[in-house]
Symmetry: C2
């Protein structure tokens, strides 16, 4: 966000890989994969560079330092998350709840993305950690989006007004995160989509008047 990188001007040469990916994007993609697999702290920038076939110093040319790379990864991959959540909840009320399994399906289809943020959150729990503020606001935004979806349902009369929208939003996000954790650790032990569907069903029962 602030200063960060020399930002190579304009478009890249034709050398960039198969798809129109710039070297910078290749590096971000490689970093996302490795961070998801091993975490940020244990991944060396040299490993990331090697995955793309350049040296560590080439990587530093783009991102300045390791933290710059991390922020580039977060910025590039996390926008989609909130958008996805907004898309799912935009319908408001019961229709939004029914979309919950789509979230699970998305994780199953893209475990690397699911793992990336789960791992990074735990590496940034404490104030002062490089991306702490980012994740704090990320979760606040997600809770806010879910809470609005619930209050929308209450205002339309589809949801009972006796439920505390704020606590319910917390609960729903807790389920999503915790389900994710268990599934990442032990994918064969549970059918994430089935579990999410079951949860959504029961959830609807507690929300409906």
């Amino acid at each position: 966000m602030t200063s960060s990188s020399p930002a190579p001007t304009g478009r890249q040469g034709r050398k960039a890989s198969a798809r129109g990916e710039s070297r910078r994007e290749e590096l971000i993609a490689a970093a996302a994969t490795l961070f998801a697999e091993r975490g940020y702290a244990t991944t060396s920038i040299a490993d990331v560079a090697a995955a793309v076939g350049v040296t560590q110093q080439a990587l530093l040319y783009y991102f300045g330092n390791k933290v710059g790379l991390l922020h580039a990864v977060i910025d590039q991959r996390d926008g989609a998350s909130l958008e996805f959540a907004e898309e799912l909840t935009a319908l408001g009320g019961p229709a939004a709840i029914e979309q919950l399994p789509r979230y699970a399906r998305r994780n199953v289809a893209n475990p690397s993305l699911a793992s990336l943020f789960a791992v990074l959150v735990m590496e940034n729990l404490r104030p002062g950690d490089v991306a702490h503020e980012h994740f704090v606001t990320r979760y606040r935004n997600l809770r806010a989006v879910i809470e609005q979806m619930i209050t929308a349902g209450q205002e339309s009369g589809e949801f009972s007004r006796t439920v505390d929208a704020r606590l319910k939003a917390f609960e729903i996000l807790a389920f999503i995160e915790g389900a994710n954790t268990q599934w990442l650790l032990d994918p064969d032990s549970v059918d994430l989509v089935a579990a999410t569907t079951a949860y959504a069903t029961d959830l609807l029962r507690t929300l409906t008047p």
Copy 2:
């Protein structure tokens, strides 16, 4: 478990700190705190040793290597978790559900322990990670305990037989873990005990015939 440490024989000298803690126990306690705060990978054994006032080499005398220290920490702190879960669920049925907020209270009272395992799990998601197998079986055991609690309630007729005990157990554990994550990241944003109490209440409604 296997070989590990020279295991200093017999009891310790009177030099061990205020409480009857042996040096080994002091080191485990210091490691638990630091691992909880910074994670395993980013904590150096020298930091752990320094927290107790000895050198890194003294620490290695007890644990052999860094992985030995990790396993000592896990063995010492994790036994309590499963016991606690068993205690809470032993009652079976609705009474067990009502105990859920106690779990939250325990975390609030001991954030360091809550953080320790949350962080270590994410550092051991992948097969081959030093403590991967430990956490896989840990979660399997926890799910099994919760599942048994539910089936016990179903057999006594207190819980509806239409719910899938296995999926419900997964859901309950997901809530606990996810609630924990959100609260660790941003403690002021939510009242963990209130949220857990609300969840337990709604949970009971979906479980009761």
